[in-house]
Every structure is written in C-alpha cells, then in structure tokens.
C-alpha cells in the first residue's frame, strides 16, 4: 500500500477551481502562481498542484490504467517542478502541464505495451461507498471511454470523471469553447452507441 500519494484535490473550494476564461475577478491566478513558482516559490507550486491535480488525473486516466494514474500524476508534477524554469508564458501553465502529462502517459504506454492490456481493476467499493456491481460497471465504462478517439475521451473524462465544466476544460487545455463542445457531444454520441447496456438502468 502506498502510504502517501499526492492529494488529488478534487473537492476544491470554488476559488480553487479552474478559471472560467471569460469570468471577471482575480485575473488569471495561474499566471501569478506560475510566475512565483518559476521564481522558486514552492508554496505557489503547491497551489498550482491543488488547482490542477484533478485535471492531470483526468488527462492521465484517459490514457492509462487507473492503477497507474496516481504514480503518473506524481511523476507529472515532479517533472513540472523540475522544468518550471523552462515555462515560457506563465499564463499557459495548464496547457504546458497537460503536455507533460500526455507525454508521460505516452511513454508509460510504450513501456507497458504490448505485455499489459489497457484494462482496469474495479474501483474499491469500500473506498467509494458504491456497490460491487457499480464498481465493475464503472471499470467497464471507463474502458469504453478509453476506446474513443483521443480528443473525445480526454474531454469526456475531464467532464464526467473529474467534474470540470466545458469552459473549465477549454481554459485548461487551451482549446476553444467550440472545440470542447463538439468533442463532448461527439464523444458522448459514440459512447452511447458503444455502451451496449453498460451504464444503462436495469429494470
């Protein structure tokens, strides 16, 4: 058992959520935090971690088995901390971090392929409070999502697993609102077509 994994801060206070790109209020907290982190402020990096841990978790979950994701999240932030000095535009911290995470997932996939299929163990019902049946259905469902084209599966995981809204996904990934919207709708249409009963209510 891992005694310590990075705190995947997904129950975040409203102010800690990813910013709506069109919202007023404090201007671009990522930029300020990333500038401080780049200057060596570890507390600022910790804040960036809290703001983006869920986002990175989602990016990785779209590409890697769930059991590997906590370690990959840690690896992504470690790599980001080591490379923060090379971050150009501080306002682009999230897309920069996303690139690191995607590359890590790609490297991890190359290391495990083809010996290890991209399958998931069911989530632990004791940890989530769900039934064994729901845990199994959830694992099957995320497996189906992972079979979708990359753009769709990433956007769907960020939306439905991590709970980000479309505008939040756009802000973090650098995609336009229109692209996120299309990815979500197309991905969901494909997922529904492929469901074959998974996730459907049983009578």
């Amino acid at each position: 058992m891992h005694a310590c994994t990075l705190p995947l801060a997904l129950d975040l206070a409203p102010e800690a959520r990813l910013p709506h790109p069109e919202s007023p209020g404090p201007r671009d907290p990522d930029r300020a935090l990333a500038e401080r982190a780049r200057a060596g402020d570890r507390e600022a990096f910790g804040r960036l971690f809290e703001r983006h841990a869920g986002f990175v978790h989602g990016l990785l979950l779209a590409r890697a088995p769930a059991r590997e994701v906590p370690d990959l999240v840690q690896e992504a932030f470690t790599a980001a901390l080591g490379a923060i000095g090379s971050l150009g535009d501080a306002a682009r911290f999230a897309p920069w971090l996303a690139t690191i995470a995607r590359n890590l997932a790609r490297d991890a996939g190359r290391r495990t392929r083809p010996r290890e299929p991209l399958t998931d163990d069911p989530v632990d019902p004791r940890a989530t409070g769900c039934s064994v049946e729901d845990a199994a259905a959830s694992a099957e469902l995320i497996g189906l999502v992972r079979e979708l084209p990359e753009a769709y599966r990433e956007t769907l995981v960020l939306r439905l697993v991590e709970g980000l809204t479309g505008p939040e996904i756009a802000a973090a990934t650098g995609l336009t609102h229109g692209s996120v919207r299309v990815n979500l709708h197309r991905g969901m249409k494909l997922l529904r077509e492929r469901l074959g009963g998974v996730g459907e209510e049983t009578p």
Binding site: M1, T5, T78, L195, G199
Partner: protein
C-alpha cells in the same frame, strides 16, 4: 453529428458543456459511474498512528545504526540515468553527478534527482528499504512509499521519507537544508536525538554539530525564523524572545520548541501551545517542561500532542 453548435441537443449541451443536471436517468447513471473513477478526495485526513510513528523512527535508527544488511534488490543497485548514458549504483558505491545531473530509479517507489556536483552514496539497507548518504549537493526525492522505506542521511542528520517530494541541499560543511514541497519528511539527528517533522511548505536547516532547527513555514518572517533558530539552541534564552512566543500562532515551530534545551523556552512554548491546541492527558507540564526533552515521558507527551496538530496529517 453536425459541428454546428446550434444543432446540438440543448439538454445534452446544458449537461455536457455547462455542467448542469443530466438530461435523463441513463445519462445520470453514466455520470455517476464514471465519477467513481475520480481520484481520492481530499480529506477526511488520516493521521499517522503513534505506533507507526514509533516504528518509523525505530526503523530509521536501526537502518542508520546497523546499515549492514541488504536485500537482493538493494545489492543489485539502482539504475542511474545521466545525460549521456546509464550506469548502475550499487550499495557502497558513490556517485558524483556530472554536468546535466543524474536521476536514480528507486525500485518502484519513485526517483531521486541529483544536481550537477552532488555526491551520493548508496547504502546497504534492510529488505524493502532504501538508504542513501548525501555528502554534498542538491537532491530532490519524489517517493511514493510506505513510511520509512526511503531515507537519505546527510552529515547533519537523517531524513526519512513520509512521502512525497522534497529537496535536500548539503554544503561543504555538511550543513543541510531540507525543504518539503509535497507530503512530509521526518528528520533525526543522532547526536541530539531530536525528532523533527517537516510538512509541505516548511523547511529546516541542520548542522553537523547541533542537528536540525525547528522547521519554519516558508511564509514565515525572517524575524520569526531567526528567533526560532536562536531559541532552538539557547541554554539561557533572551527574555524578549520568550515573551514574543506568548503571541505566536505557529504551532509547527511551537511544538518543536518543546524540545528546546532551556526549560524556560519549553515553558513559553508549552503555555502558548496550550492556548492554541487542546492538550491530551499525557501532555503535562511535568513531562514537557520539567522533564528532560529526551526523557521517555517527554517523548510520549510530545507524540500524544503531535496527533492533534493540524499540520501533522497524512495524505492517503
């Protein structure tokens, strides 16, 4: 499906894009099932049990004192990646990181990054444990492991990883700076027997002769940092500094000052801590002020109170 947003189902759009309620029961169930894949929530926080704490320190002390047994894995050594190649560092061997630094894979626990010029020795360790000695330079450890499985000694003490990401910087005199970015690290100085806990966002400095200072939050003022360092060492503390403890609200430094050599410092820290954090039965004045800080009673009292410090929590 058309790419024209105007053609999208508005109920789906309100759900998918705006994060509104699911349009039907099947979609709601799908969302609920997928949300089960979300990572561990923040809190409720689990606490490291005193027994685990004791076992951790015992294991750390044992590893430092004996340091002779190693597992087959340890004997095989560690894979080291350099800018221009790879090598293997076996127990007993030393590595001076070249320009471009070095990165060690520590079994399946994580990795250690060395900056150029850092001098590191792999030490023999018991099965399932990994010990290193950082003689000089800067090391950043990113470890996900059972508490105590990974540790780095320096000339000024031993750090034991409680997860997850921290940096050690050792200068030519052996003076060590420990800064924790994520998780928590325990630091012990064999000479003084002092136990220090450094949570994320805090740091300490340890010298070869005197061991570690009490950790201080990175956001603390320089004046507070100086004052804590002075009280950490003073046999006859400055009354003005003691008076200032009465209004301090930094429970991290206050708890650590319960190990100060001067009873007057311990008393000032004790009185202030009483006002800030409920004291358990064991945390009596007799144990924490009157008794020697290295006594069994003081140790038990500190550990009992430690459990109630908000910074002494463990992320799972």
């Amino acid at each position: 499906m058309s790419e024209d947003p105007d053609d999208l189902d508005p109920r789906d759009d309100a759900w998918l894009f705006d994060g509104g309620p699911a349009p039907d029961a099947a979609s709601a169930r799908l969302e609920r099932l997928l949300a089960l894949q979300r990572g561990p929530r923040r809190r409720p926080r689990a606490r490291l049990r005193p027994s685990a704490f004791a076992a951790l320190l015992a294991a750390a002390a044992l590893a430092v004192a004996l340091g002779a047994l190693w597992s087959a894995r340890g004997a095989r050594g560690y894979e080291v990646r350099l800018a221009d190649g790879e090598l293997r560092l076996r127990p007993g061997q030393r590595l001076e990181a070249p320009a471009g630094g070095a990165r060690l894979e520590v079994a399946d626990l994580g990795d250690v990054r060395l900056e150029a010029g850092a001098l590191l020795q792999a030490r023999a360790a018991a099965r399932g444990r990994h010990r290193f000695f950082l003689e000089r330079g800067t090391l950043t450890a990113s470890i996900t492991a059972e508490p105590g499985a990974f540790g780095v000694d320096t000339p000024a003490g031993s750090s034991v990883d409680l997860g997850c990401l921290y940096t050690l910087d050792v200068d030519e005199r052996g003076e060590t700076r420990l800064a924790v970015s994520l998780g928590r690290v325990a630091f012990r100085h064999a000479g003084t027997g002092r136990d220090v806990y450094v949570p994320a966002g805090a740091s300490l400095v340890a010298t070869v002769a005197d061991g570690p200072t009490s950790p201080v939050w990175d956001s603390a003022s320089e004046a507070w940092r100086t004052q804590v360092a002075a009280l950490d060492r003073a046999e006859d503390p400055d009354p003005d500094q003691l008076a200032r403890l009465a209004s301090a609200d930094d429970t991290l430094s206050l708890w650590h000052l319960l190990q100060a050599p001067a009873a007057a410092t311990r008393e000032a820290a004790y009185d202030r801590l009483l006002a800030l954090v409920d004291a358990p039965r064991e945390a009596s004045r007799a144990a924490l002020v009157d008794a020697a800080p290295t006594s069994a009673a003081a140790l038990a009292a500190r550990r009992a109170w430690l459990e109630r410090m908000d910074w002494y929590t463990f992320e799972f």
